[in-house]
């Protein structure tokens, strides 16, 4: 019973990034792309050996040069080792590429093909060489390639987290509307391949709601609310009532982080800036963009306050040449595509506030007030300054117009609807953080399915999980 005091492990595998860590922490210990590089066929054995020897040599060099600072080349996940550094991007990795690959001991010694793979940032580097091919096992939030995913988890647990799965409970996340068969498959892998002590699979949107409890605006800890989850690929609007996702009302828009980056890139190109790479556009997005109340006024503000224009310096790896990139209107135009999709795309025209309103209107009438009351943001693309404020203002005006129209037509007085959008500091990794909050509670183990349950009843037990009832 050694696992009783060990913290649970929280794993949030997203389409773009995987967040790994221990329950009770307030941020994930590792964030890296959900990518796996596997060796390709027969030529791989010889070339990977070569790679291994060269790696070992440079590893020695590396460790001898850094012993003074006390770091070892295969350090246990400190930030000195750039592979373990936290990433906020699913694509950027070139700051790591000059380093050598971390030696994957198993692959080198045994020479077995199916152990010869890398995950995360290492996978991105390995795939630049000839003998590895890169794949993303999760597409649109759902696991597509189970073999790759199993190996991805294996490395996550043994190489990154460095834990014994039989000593820990696991909290995994799933997208809304995940088929129960997928859960069973996950349970088979976790109980049979990894022999984990206990398992809980939580819906991402519910965890994002739980994460919002840290905000001072939240008074009652209910699991009712609308979650706006915007990552790299899609933006979902998910209504949750008492911990249950209202599946029929979920809506999504094909506008998210990647589209914003591409839009910034196109604006930079139109202006003829010196460097218009995706990486530059992504950095500009993360560091300079904000949401404005009105774009006409914002253009005039730029005319009056020249300090609104910013500059961004791109250095090459050797720091020999510098490129200066001027940043202009994209600071506020880029996030504007959530509120005015027309400016960037021609096939999708519904603004996010309208979509949120449609989602809530599609829900049962008795939960709508609660859904308007508690709109929670989650994911990196909701991190723009004043994103929540603008959403709240636009949504409020839609709702108030409807109430006014209704009052005019029926002649009865409405009690009004309170619209409130909650943004909080844990927004970027809200799903992971919500998982960490719930998994550290004393009740968590009671809600999990254990190894004994699994052996007694089989994988179908994971079709049902009891909800956290925190109220």
């Amino acid at each position: 019973m050694s696992y009783l005091n060990n913290p649970a492990i929280v794993m949030d595998n997203g389409t773009g990034l995987t967040k790994l860590g221990f329950a009770g922490n307030d941020s994930p210990s590792w964030i890296f792309p959900t990518a796996i590089a596997t060796s390709q066929g027969s030529q791989s054995t010889s070339s990977s050996k070569k790679l291994d020897t060269s790696m070992n040599m440079s590893n020695t060099n590396y460790s001898s040069s850094t012993t003074a600072t006390g770091a070892t080349s295969t350090g246990t996940g400190t930030n000195k080792n750039s592979y373990y550094a936290k990433s906020t991007s699913a694509t950027a990795f070139d700051n790591l590429s000059s380093n050598v690959l971390l030696s994957n001991n198993l692959a080198g010694k045994r020479g077995t093909e199916d152990l010869d793979f890398y995950i995360g940032n290492e996978a991105l580097i390995a795939s630049q060489g000839p003998s590895y091919s890169l794949s993303y096992p999760i597409k649109h939030g759902q696991i597509e390639n189970w073999d790759h995913m199993e190996r991805f988890w294996e490395n996550s647990i043994f190489k990154y987290l460095r834990v014994e799965p039989e000593d820990h409970y696991f909290l995994l996340t799933e997208p809304p509307l995940n088929p129960p068969e997928n859960r069973e498959q996950v349970a088979e892998i976790f109980f049979e391949s990894f022999n984990c002590a206990g398992l809980y699979i939580a819906v991402q949107a519910v965890l994002a709601l739980a994460a919002s409890w840290t905000s001072s605006k939240v008074i009652d800890r209910s699991l009712t609310g609308t979650v706006i989850d915007s990552g790299d690929g899609v933006t979902h609007v998910i209504p949750v009532a008492e911990g249950y996702v209202i599946g029929s009302a979920i809506k999504n828009i094909p506008i998210a982080g990647r589209d914003i980056t591409l839009f910034i890139q196109s604006l930079l190109r139109e202006r003829g800036e010196q460097d218009t790479s995706l990486k530059t556009a992504e950095r500009i997005k993360q560091e300079y963009c904000y949401v404005c109340p009105d774009i006409v006024k914002e253009f005039n503000k730029f005319d009056r306050n020249p300090e609104k224009f910013a500059q961004f310096v791109v250095e090459n790896k050797e720091r020999t040449s510098k490129k200066i990139i001027d940043i202009g209107y994209e600071r506020f135009l880029a996030p504007e595509i959530f509120f005015n999709p027309e400016i960037a795309s021609s096939d999708f025209l519904t603004p996010l506030p309208t979509l949120v309103d449609q989602t809530i209107q599609a829900c049962p009438i008795d939960v709508r007030k609660g859904l308007y009351n508690n709109i929670v943001l989650s994911g990196g693309s909701t991190m723009f300054k004043d994103f929540g404020r603008r959403l709240q203002r636009d949504l409020k005006s839609i709702v108030n117009n409807r109430i006014a129209q209704n009052e005019r037509l029926t002649g009865t007085k409405s009690t009004g609807v309170d619209v409130s959008v909650i943004s909080h500091r844990k927004q970027r990794n809200a799903v992971w953080f919500g998982g960490s909050l719930l998994a550290q509670t004393a009740e968590f183990r009671g809600y999990c399915h254990t190894k004994q349950d699994y052996e007694e009843y089989g994988p179908e037990i994971v079709r049902n999980f009891s909800l956290f009832n925190m109220v």
Binding site: R271, D303, R304, P306, E342
Partner: protein
């Protein structure tokens, strides 16, 4: 939120209509048929303010007659910016834009104008067409000159700072809008 519309209401007492094209007063020293304007902010200022945001929109619903003038102004600004080359001096730009605004241009309603489905003007009435032509010439000159003042303002100093615009080069932030086409049209 759709594209921005003109805020000037059509006033039948002061504004003349040619077909559904409205002749609104503008502040200008160029000679022409426009009535003197008695407010600080006229339709030309509005065109210049709305040009940048509206350039991103492909759809635009015409709500008032002044929206038609706004569309014409925005499309003309786009044409002006395409004429100004990145390294053109202030004086050369003034010359180029004066030529552009006065040289032979296509009147709404006549063949070759891109938005004939929305502009209905009486082509058969030569008197009205002459009035339209002289008003548009006046409108184009005034708009081009005010545009140059904005384009040759150094964004690093701001509009309020005293600066010698003849020494500046055109702002790349304005020129970048050349590639955007409001309503997918150009004059």
């Amino acid at each position: 939120m759709p594209a921005y519309h003109s805020t000037f209401p059509y006033d039948p007492n002061t504004d003349r209509l040619i077909g559904n094209f409205v002749i609104m007063p503008i502040k200008t020293k160029f000679r022409g048929p426009s009535y003197p304007c008695n407010s600080d902010y006229d339709i030309i200022d509005e065109c210049l303010d709305l040009f940048r945001p509206n350039s991103f929109f492909k759809n635009f619903e015409i709500k008032t007659p002044s929206d038609r003038l706004l569309i014409y102004g925005i499309l003309f600004i786009n044409q002006c910016l395409a004429t100004i080359q990145p390294h053109m001096s202030y004086n050369d730009a003034v010359k180029a834009l004066v030529n552009l605004s006065l040289n032979h241009f296509v009147l709404p309603g006549t063949p070759g104008f891109p938005l004939n489905s929305t502009y209905q003007v009486p082509i058969e009435d030569p008197q009205q067409m002459a009035l339209l032509k002289s008003y548009l010439a006046q409108f184009r000159q005034e708009l081009a000159m005010r545009l140059i003042e904005r384009v040759y303002t150094d964004p690093k100093l701001g509009v309020e700072a005293e600066q010698d615009k003849t020494k500046n080069s055109p702002s790349k932030y304005w020129l970048s809008f050349t590639k955007r086409k409001f309503m997918n049209k150009s004059l």
